[in-house]
Each structure stands twice: as C-alpha cells, then as structure tokens.
Assembly symmetry: C2
Homo-oligomer: 337 residues x 2
DNA sequence: ATTAGCACTGTCAACCATTGAGTGCCAAAA
DNA sequence: TTTTGGCACTCAATGGTTGACAGTGCTAAT
C-alpha cells in the first residue's frame, strides 16, 4: 500500500469531484485515470484515506468526497502554481491598464478576478498602516464650510467637509494651513491625532475654533483610512453552485456584506511560499463561511493589502490560485507606477 | 356581483397570499375576512377576477394567486401611504443622524432601508445634473504629481492625480490655479469641458503642458460625476425567499451588479401622487428582473436622485412603500442641512 | 343575486418494489 | 505482503399506485 499512490488517488478524487460534483467511486476512478491497479486496490487505499479523515462517504455505500482536511493536503501537495496562459495574461494587462483612478483600478480588478475564477472576488483597499501623511490641504468651499483633503502615501485620497461658526478670511486660512502642515505632514498615520491635538494648544485665539474642528477631522480621517474598505464583485456566482451543495447562500451573503468579518479573515491569512494563502472550510471556526474556502494573497508595497476570492470548498484550487496570484501581481505592477 | 366587493376580494387575496405565500381559496377567504357572503359567491367573483386577468390559478384546482396586473390594481387602490410608527421614525432619525460624510450617509441609508423592508435596497448618489462646480483645487503632492480636487454642489467630492513632466514651482502653480478657477468655477457641470479647453488656448507656454493634463482631468471628472454611482445592501435578503418562489436569484444578482440596468430603471420610474413609484414584474420587459418589483422614490433637491428597494413581486407593498417614502424624506432632510 | 350541494380535478404525501452504483470483506493469486 | 476477483450487502434514487384533501365549476333552489 504505497504512500505515493495514495496521494495520487487523493488527487484524482479531488479533481474528479470538483468537476463532476458527484461522489466518486473506485470503478470510475480506475477508468478515468491511468492508475495501473484494479478497483479493489483502489478501494483498499480509499479505506485508508478515509481512516486518515481525508475523504468521507456521504452514505454507507456511495462514492467518496474529499473532506476539508482532504482538500487541505491536496492543496499542500501542489508544488508550484501553474502560470496562466499568455492570452489570459494579456487580457488581464489590457483590462487593468485602462484604469485612471484608484477607485477605478479596484473596481476593475475585482470584476476581473470574479470573471476569471467564476467566484466571488473581494479586494481590500491599499492599507494605510505603515504609510505616512503625504499632504493635507484646507480649502474654503464657500461660507463657513471648509474642505479638509487628506492624502496618505497609500494613494487613496480622503476628504471631509467641516463647518466653522464664522468664515475665515484668506490670510487666516493660510496661517492655519501652514500650521497644520507643519504639525502633521509627513507623519505616520497613527501619529496624526497626537500631532493635531498638539497643534490646537499652540493656536492663536482667532484660529482656535477652526483649528479644533480641523484637528478632529484629521484624527477621524486618519482613523477611517485605517479601516480599509472592501469591494466585492461576482456575488451572482454564488447562486450558480447553490444548487449542488446545500451551501445556503444567505448567510454567506450576510457575511460578505458584514465587511468586518472578511477584513479580519483576510488579515489573518498567511500566504505561503507559493505566494497564496488558502483557507479551507471552517478550519476550526464554525461561522457562516464554514462551507466556503478563501484563496487570497497580498498585493502592493510589502504585499500588505489583500485580495482574493471566496467560493465553495469544492473549487478548482489550482486555477483559482493561479488567477489570484496573477491578478495580484499585475495590480501591484500597475499601482507601482 | 358588486364592483366594490370584487375590489375587496382582490385586496384580501393579495394580503393573504403575501403573508402565507400559498394560493388562497374561496373558503379560507370567507373565514379569515369578514365578507358577509358565502364561499360560493366569492367563487363567482373570483371567476370574474380571473377573467379580468387579475388572478390566476396555478393548477386547475387550487387557490388563486395575484398576477402582476392584480398587484398593480391592488397598489393603485391604496389611497394613501400609511405613515410609520413613531418608534420606527425615531430609529430612522437617530440612525441617519450619526453620518458624518456623504459616503457614510449613503451607506447608512441603504442599510437602514434594507433592514426596514427586508429586501434589497439600492440608492443612487445625488445626481450631478443641474449642479454646478463649486470649487476646484490644485495641490502639489510632491514631485511631478498634481492632485486635482473637484467639488460640485451635489456634495460629493472627487479627485484625481495627474502627472506632469516637470515639477511646477509654487508661483506657476498659483498662476495655473487662478486661471483654472476663473475659467470653470461656478459653471454648470456640462459646461466644464468647454471651459477647460478654452482655458488651454490662453495659457502661456510654460503652463501649456500642465494646463492640458489638468483640463483633461477636469473634463473626465465632470463626466464621471454624471455617471451616478449606485450603492446597495441587503442582498442576503434575496436568499430568504429564493425558496418560496422559483425566483432564481442568480440573474437578479447579476442585474444588480450591472449597475447600468438599475440606474436606467430607476430613472425611468415616475413617482405618483403618493410620492412613490412602483414597478411590478416585468411590465412588458422580459429581463432578469421579470419576477421582481421595484419600489422607488426620489430624494434630495427636486427629488432627482433615487432610492428604493427591489424584491419579489409577492411583497408587502403598503409597508414597503411607507418605509421607502419615510427614509427618502429623512434623508432629504438630513442632506438639506 | 346569492347560496347550498355535488361531481370533478389536480396536488401532495405515503408507500411500496425495483434498480443500480458502490462498498466491505474474504479467499486466492502474485 | 500486496494485489485481485468475486460476492453479498447497503442505501439512494426512481417510478408507479393509492388515498386524502383542497378547491373549483356548475346547477338548481332560494
């Protein structure tokens, strides 16, 4: 009962099940794959695999399907992620090159990924942790409204409109602007609130009120640029396989809308040597995502921001991993410019 | 065979079917409602209603369910939208008051609406048509990057980073800024591209290149602030009733993600005297939304922006209409400040 | 115009028997 | 010790039959 053959059989079971979505039996296996053994031998090996908890039989007598653990070892067996075909590569490139905006790039990327993998794709906006504040601008937008523009190095631009009780004359605004710049520009984001409140203490009386509201806005913006937004696409793909498995798509959609869950999940995933992280089934957590797998990877500077796809545990891992990695690379490249 | 009684019976059928999701028969009707007649009489009336195409029997012999046309006349019969209970009103108010941002307000509104109606809620960003350009700002964000901030009166702030081939010294930037402001500020959005290209022709040579890219950015921003974004929430609610009816949620999700379809739909809906518009079933279009209804209304200045919910034709129209209208009113009020 | 009564129709669930794919195990072969 | 052929067994899926049931349409009486 050789070990390599057992691994081979596991691989065959996973592949067949993924594309037929039906329990696979010993006889069908020996027919579809060129294992040089008979069905009885395969049966023995299958019994051993079941013993190890890698596959299960849904009913006493029908084919086997892989368990989460089975998928896990299958995925771990994959030595290298096969690269995409060059037409696919070119499609990615041309699709991503059209973006003229960070928002647009995110949108395009997530749609592309959903289309490539036929799954739900998610992407996290470039993270601000470790980034600094590149620029702040105060703009008088008429009356007592003041626009605070907030530009971290991550590329995303945030803004907020604040109200002051009296309109500031031009020179006061310039003065305030200069002081704000001096106190927070170039600082790491987490230092911004401190710098801002420090600023308030040194302001002349006529700027005190405006300075306070601006400082509050800066602190709030710094905080909100930390809670990375999430964009997703391809939710319709969830419906496609709601038929096969009893995967009830309601809870999954809820979890996806509840972005906090996904954000935590993504940040916890550790990508391995092959450049992708794969979370299969619940992996010891019994949330609404128990019957789903997540394939994710980092992108951008230091790969600290994440993108990936969510789908049923029964998914085509090799292709999905390849697509996720390729898209992340191209996106990193595009953003790098 | 009195006409008012027939209307009453239609109303009863719709109400019963909406909350039991099962075909309703003559006997059950006379039991649950105090119509002063026997089941045989009701049967006669039902035959007439079926003749008019307002209800159908799924099988030769089972209760009747309303047709799209039946829902239509039911909805048209509703004289006035019943107001919400005051706890509900208070909940809306407090939930919406917390918003500190346009993005945040949209997000909160759409979630609130999804929760109130248990349906998918959609909201269109405040439309830019008819709005003017309140302010433009050029900001040097280091090196050869220039940030163009674009603030229409609609409240949303857009921005874009453009690249120039050589860094502009401070005074040149100020000069360019002044010229840009003079040529496009206060203009209606559709005039912005013309104003910008006009500007380019009058620039001194050293500003020509930077002016051109800025003008392009302005034109593009003006255009993209026209293509109103759509936000939605509560897609998980789709799953809840995917069981009852054969409403396949896949196509619906696709249509929702394809925002163009929804945007056109929303813009085509004409709200009536009661302040809401109701589109039931396909209403002569056989798209993926054929089995859904849309309840929508306008909000904001001149009610030109739209919000609403989409759900199965079998929905509780009175409550939904009430919720949609109430949320729209509160949002208009919140934005008005 | 309404009602009571009755025959008719179709759905649904329950209940078989049958089929078939696939297993587990054992004894024989390699 | 591993592999193989054979055989009995199990269980899901299928299909036909049946009886209850809900509801209708029609007719005759009020």
């Amino acid at each position: 009962m050789s070990q390599p053959r057992r691994a081979e059989i596991l691989r065959a079971i996973v592949e067949d099940y993924v594309h037929s979505r039906e329990p696979v039996g010993s006889k069908a296996l020996v027919e579809r794959h060129q294992l040089g053994v008979s069905s009885a031998t395969v049966r023995n090996d299958m019994a051993a695999l079941e013993e190890d908890g890698l596959i299960v039989a849904p009913h006493t007598s029908s084919g086997r399907i892989p368990t989460d653990k089975g998928y896990r070892t299958f995925v771990d067996q994959i030595a290298s992620v096969r690269p995409l075909s060059s037409p696919q590569k070119r499609a990615i490139q041309s699709f991503l090159d059209g973006a003229d905006d960070l928002d647009d790039a995110m949108e395009r990327t997530v749609r592309l990924l959903a289309q490539l993998t036929h799954q739900v794709a998610v992407i996290q906006y470039p993270a601000a942790s470790g980034t600094t504040l590149r620029h702040v601008e105060l703009v008088d937008v008429g009356g007592t409204s003041l626009l605070v523009v907030f530009i971290p190095t991550s590329g995303r631009v945030l803004q907020r409109i604040v109200e002051v009780s009296r309109a500031l004359p031009e020179h006061e605004l310039m003065e305030l602007r200069a002081r704000v710049l001096a106190s927070v520009m170039g600082r790491p984001l987490q230092d911004v609130p401190a710098g801002a409140s420090n600023l308030v203490r040194q302001l002349p009386p006529e700027l005190a009120e405006a300075g306070t509201v601006v400082a509050e806005a800066l602190a709030s913006l710094a905080a909100s640029s930390e809670d990375h937004r999430l964009v997703m696409a391809g939710t319709a793909n969830l419906a496609r396989f709601s038929g096969d498995f009893a995967l009830s798509i309601g809870p999954v959609l809820e979890a996806l809308e509840e972005q906090v869950v996904m954000l935590r999940l993504l940040s916890e995933m550790q990508q391995d040597v092959r450049g992708v992280a794969v979370r299969i089934g619940s992996d010891s957590t019994d949330d609404p995502l128990a019957e789903t797998s997540v394939v994710a990877t980092g992108y951008g500077p230091e790969s600290v921001s994440k993108l990936g796809v969510v789908g049923p545990t029964r998914m085509d891992y090799p292709s999905t991993m390849a697509a996720v990695r390729a898209v992340a690379r191209y996106l990193s490249h595009t953003l790098g410019e």
